[in-house]
């Protein structure tokens, strides 16, 4: 475990090199909050409630959802694997005395831990700037479930991006597919609109998918909603993590023989 913690620490320190990136990442978190503030500000002019949301409840959801989706930074893993497989430099990961997938997990942990404090500060600033009467869950059990679910959601996203990266060995170019995936993920994780606004049958289908538990349900739990789904959510996302791991192993075994270290 110690070597992986060292990897995390290295990536944490590496973020300090890109200080301007950190500041601009913080500033650009405003775009989602501003979108929610202006759009829902217009909608709530004529209404008290939309679905189960009040205006401040809705904005609280967007603040938490934006904070969580900002923290989820694993999408770079698939492009890193894709680029390195194509130009032949993926061998770097084969000679490092660490499991490749665990290396990426540790890398993600380092980056997340570094950004955690900055993204939290940014969220607090936007709550203050937009004068949001923040709605937060009252029960510690629900908060604990949301935190566990967030961690499992991040693990799942690392696994997913790792798996998509491996698919380079099968499809050669996956850049277009990754962009389409990012568009879809923004919808099904509830980053654009809360999933609760979709018809019930759509939500029932989404509940079976892992993306529901990556940012949407943790954000709902932390803003005091959907408490009854907390434990079930942890079980489902946990199962998805196990399933994804099996898929990764099978894909690795099947496709990695194609890697010759010379690029595609």
């Amino acid at each position: 475990m110690r070597k992986y913690w060292e990897i995390s620490k290295t990536y944490m320190k590496a973020q300090l090199v890109w200080r301007a990136d950190v500041i601009f990442n913080m500033i650009f978190t405003i775009s989602k909050i501003l979108f929610a503030y202006l759009l829902w500000g217009t909608v709530f002019q004529d209404k008290e409630m939309v679905g189960t949301f009040t205006f401040h409840g809705m904005l609280s959801y967007y603040v938490v959802s934006s904070f969580l989706s900002q923290l989820e930074m694993s999408e770079g893993i698939s492009s890193e694997i894709h680029d390195r497989l194509r130009n032949g430099t993926f061998s770097k990961y084969l000679v490092i005395p660490a499991g490749i997938e665990r290396y990426f997990m540790a890398m993600e942990l380092g980056v997340v831990l570094f950004y955690l404090i900055f993204d939290f500060a940014a969220a607090a600033v936007w709550v203050f700037v937009f004068r949001i009467r923040f709605v937060f869950a009252g029960e510690w059990q629900v908060i604990a479930c949301a935190l566990v679910m967030t961690v499992l959601g991040m693990v799942f996203m690392v696994q997913l991006n790792y798996f998509l990266g491996i698919l380079t060995l099968r499809f050669e170019g996956i850049g277009t597919f990754l962009m389409i995936k990012n568009n879809l993920v923004s919808l099904v994780t509830g980053s654009i609109v809360p999933l609760a606004l979709f018809p019930e049958f759509v939500v029932s289908i989404l509940r079976l998918l892992p993306f529901y538990y990556v940012t949407y349900l943790p954000a709902m739990l932390l803003t005091g909603k959907c408490g009854e789904e907390a434990v079930r959510g942890i079980v489902i996302i946990g199962c998805w993590c196990v399933l994804m791991q099996l898929v990764i192993r099978a894909a690795w075994k099947k496709y990695f023989t194609a890697y010759d270290g010379a690029g595609i």
Partner: protein, 264 residues
């Protein structure tokens, strides 16, 4: 446009077409990526409109028309000039712009049209379908005069879209790194493609109607189509396009004077 420029344009198109058809999936990549993006917008606003009747003064039809209009502006951008204009910073940094300055054709003209993307044409078709669906949902009589003036505003806003893209890329002629400008552009477009100008007010209106006028790009054509455009709004729109035409011309012209070949 002179006869010589037409010939250059035709040659640039065929050169690009032959290059693109080498990678067939990548040929349609802009269609798949941007098509999924705008379909997701439709789904997201479908979810919102299943809970509210109007956003500001616009009902579901107005919003579909808005998304379709923004999609069409983006589709023409992707088809005609996006890949050419976005290559400017790289060409400045590498000194490749030298080649463009020595050719007997306007450098900006060649840069604009040399990377036409025929694979994005289906995006135009998809956008037209969205616009037709939006106008059908509005249940209004579509007169020839209204259609022509909508097309006029579309053309005007496409020019503005192009000018904004050129201004932002021309910054690379003055400074070493312009990644933040591109991030700013991305954030502005991302916000305004989801948020119609009618939801903007105060300082937000100043920002997105004047400083980064992405907020008027799809709003004004839609307002014209649904008969909400005032004379003041029309004059303002024409004034903004005229202002940005002058700015683009000056920024590009002065920028070329700053250009010092590969050392830029």
């Amino acid at each position: 446009m002179s006869k010589k420029n037409w010939r250059v344009l035709r040659e640039l198109f065929w050169l690009r077409f032959h290059g693109l058809t080498v990678f067939r999936f990548d040929f349609f990549a802009p269609f798949f990526v941007d098509g999924s993006l705008f379909l997701i917008q439709l789904l997201a606003f479908g979810a919102i409109y299943s809970n509210v009747d109007t956003i500001g003064s616009w009902g579901r039809g107005g919003m579909i028309l808005y998304i379709g209009t923004f999609s069409l502006l983006n589709a023409v951008n992707m088809t005609v000039y996006f890949f050419g204009v976005t290559s400017i910073p790289h060409k400045v940094r590498s000194g490749e712009l030298d080649l463009y300055l020595t050719k007997p054709v306007s450098p900006l003209f060649r840069l604009t049209f040399e990377r036409i993307s025929p694979g994005s044409v289906p995006l135009i078709v998809m956008s037209v379908c969205m616009i037709s669906y939006g106008t059908a949902s509005l249940d209004m009589t579509l007169s020839a005069a209204r259609t022509v003036s909508y097309l006029f505003w579309l053309m005007l806003m496409e020019i503005l879209y192009y000018e904004m893209e050129v201004i932002i890329r021309s910054v690379s002629l003055y400074v070493v790194s312009m990644a933040r400008m591109e991030q700013l552009e991305e954030a502005g477009i991302d916000l305004c493609m989801k948020l119609p100008g009618i939801a903007l007010y105060g300082v937000y209106k100043v920002i997105f109607y004047l400083l980064l006028p992405y907020g008027i790009m799809a709003t004004l054509p839609v307002q014209r189509m649904i008969g909400e455009m005032s004379l003041r709004g029309a004059l303002y729109g024409i004034g903004v396009v005229a202002l940005f035409t002058v700015i683009t011309y000056e920024v590009w012209k002065q920028g070329l004077k700053h250009y010092n070949s590969a050392s830029s």
